[in-house]
Amino acid sequence: MSAPIRVLLAKVGLDGHDRGVKVVARTLRDGGMDVVYTGLHRTPEEVVTAAVQEDVDILGVSLLSGVQMTVFPKIFALLKEKKVDDMIVVAGGVMPDEDVEKLKKMGVAEILLQDTPPQEIIDTLTGLVEARGAR
């Protein structure tokens, strides 16, 4: 029996919209994954510290507040500081097309926008972990 994929889902900053992230959490649970949910209003420091301790395969950050270009650089800097170079970072929520390109260049593995069907989220995350291989 292979171990379930571990995912940490986080809401960062002044964004109180957690209906979507809770739906995603349940979707991933039903897809057989272990989902750590950290709750609302977290800082990048809190999220990365938790993700490193939990050693998740995937760090998923849900943003509906438009601060992605501030938050993701911080997350990558913190991961580097904590000597973690194999965590898959995924963004979810609502963001403009031009940011999607920039985020990908920055190292965000996938950006799952608001109209992504549940099964596609599961398949995308599973595919990312398979492509990474054993760790």
Partner: protein
């Protein structure tokens, strides 16, 4: 993003230096049961055994996670390094889980001397996760003074925590009245310390009285012989009762200095050996050539489960003795 697989044996050094990434990775491998990690986990076992392992258990919603959060803050005031293993249930259908205990401990996240790890039960019964004690050893190696295992919300019979921890705290919430009566022959027996949580509520007194009466009537486990479990009250809301809880935990730890402690540690080791043997044996039996046939025969009612199990075990014994 190919990256070198760091062998588990090479993680022991950085983990014992307290490097979070190495501790976290070893835990993942222990939890996943990666065969490559078995030797490393064995070595870690031999080096561990220094930390005070505290089990916290109680019914769902009794306030375990919030209490753990407040307790850890109090332990941090004394300068102790604390790790928390928080266990939540896996779905019996998908195998997935939502691990949400962290939300109640968010004040602790940025403290570098606190480590929180969430685990799913993955089909284990007894309120624990299969690899929880391997995880405890890894945290022990990493130098944590206190390691707190928070079980899943339990019912009446999930008492494995008492065979896994040095000190077991059973949390009861007020307002469960009749349920207290119903469960008193089960989980309440394993407590080294009773805590009634949410004592800011007016009905907490009754729960306190019920528990004290129960203890007076002489119900107590063999594990706690020579130790009278105190009944404490806490309020996480008002941050009350935690001085007393820490004092009780210390007192119980001191009581384990003598023969009681030797016995307790021997019980924990024996339990771990038994669990390891069960896991290994089951794994080997499932690989037996006749396992599938016997499963089908039971399903067709051509034989009964006990006879089929006997046939599998007998064949396994014959094969192993001829080696």
């Amino acid at each position: 993003m190919a990256r070198r697989y760091v062998p588990s044996l090479e993680l022991i050094g950085p983990a014992s230096d307290g490097e979070t990434w190495a501790v976290a990775r070893l835990i993942s491998r222990a939890e996943a049961g990666v065969p490559e990690a078995r030797e490393a986990i064995g070595q870690i076992y031999k080096r561990a055994g220094r930390a005070h392992v505290i089990g916290i258990t109680g019914v769902p919603g009794s306030g375990k996670s919030t209490l753990v959060g407040k307790l850890v803050q109090r332990l941090r005031d004394d300068g102790l390094r604390v790790a928390i293993v928080a266990i939540d249930p896996s779905s019996p259908y998908s195998g997935g889980s939502i691990l949400g205990d962290r939300i109640r401990m968010s004040d602790l996240v940025l403290d570098p001397d606190v480590f929180i790890r969430s685990m799913a039960t993955r089909g284990a019964v007894g309120g624990m996760a299969h690899a929880a004690l391997d995880v405890v050893d890894i945290l022990d190696l990493a130098g944590f003074d206190k390691i707190i295992i928070e079980t899943v919300g339990v019912g009446q019979d999930e008492v494995e925590i008492a065979k896994s921890s040095h000190t077991t705290v059973v949390v009861s919430a007020p307002g469960l009245g009749d349920e207290i009566q119903a469960i008193k022959a089960g989980i309440l027996e394993i407590a080294d310390i009773h805590v009634v949580s949410k004592c800011d509520r007016s009905d907490a007194n009754r729960t306190m009285t019920d528990l004290k009466m129960m203890l007076k009537d002489g119900i107590g486990s063999a594990l706690t012989r020579g130790w009278l479990p105190p009944v404490l009250e806490t309020s996480s809301l008002n941050e009350e009762g935690f001085e007393e809880l820490v004092a009780s935990l210390d007192k119980h730890l001191t009581s384990l200095d003598g023969p009681a402690g030797v016995e307790r540690r021997a019980q924990i080791s024996a339990f771990r050996l038994q669990k390891a043997a069960e896991t290994l044996l089951l794994e080997r039996l499932r690989q037996q050539a006749n396992y599938g046939t016997q499963t089908r025969r039971v399903s067709d009612r051509a034989t009964d489960p006990y006879a089929a199990a006997t046939a599998i075990v007998d064949q396994f014994s014959r094969e192993t003795t001829h080696v």
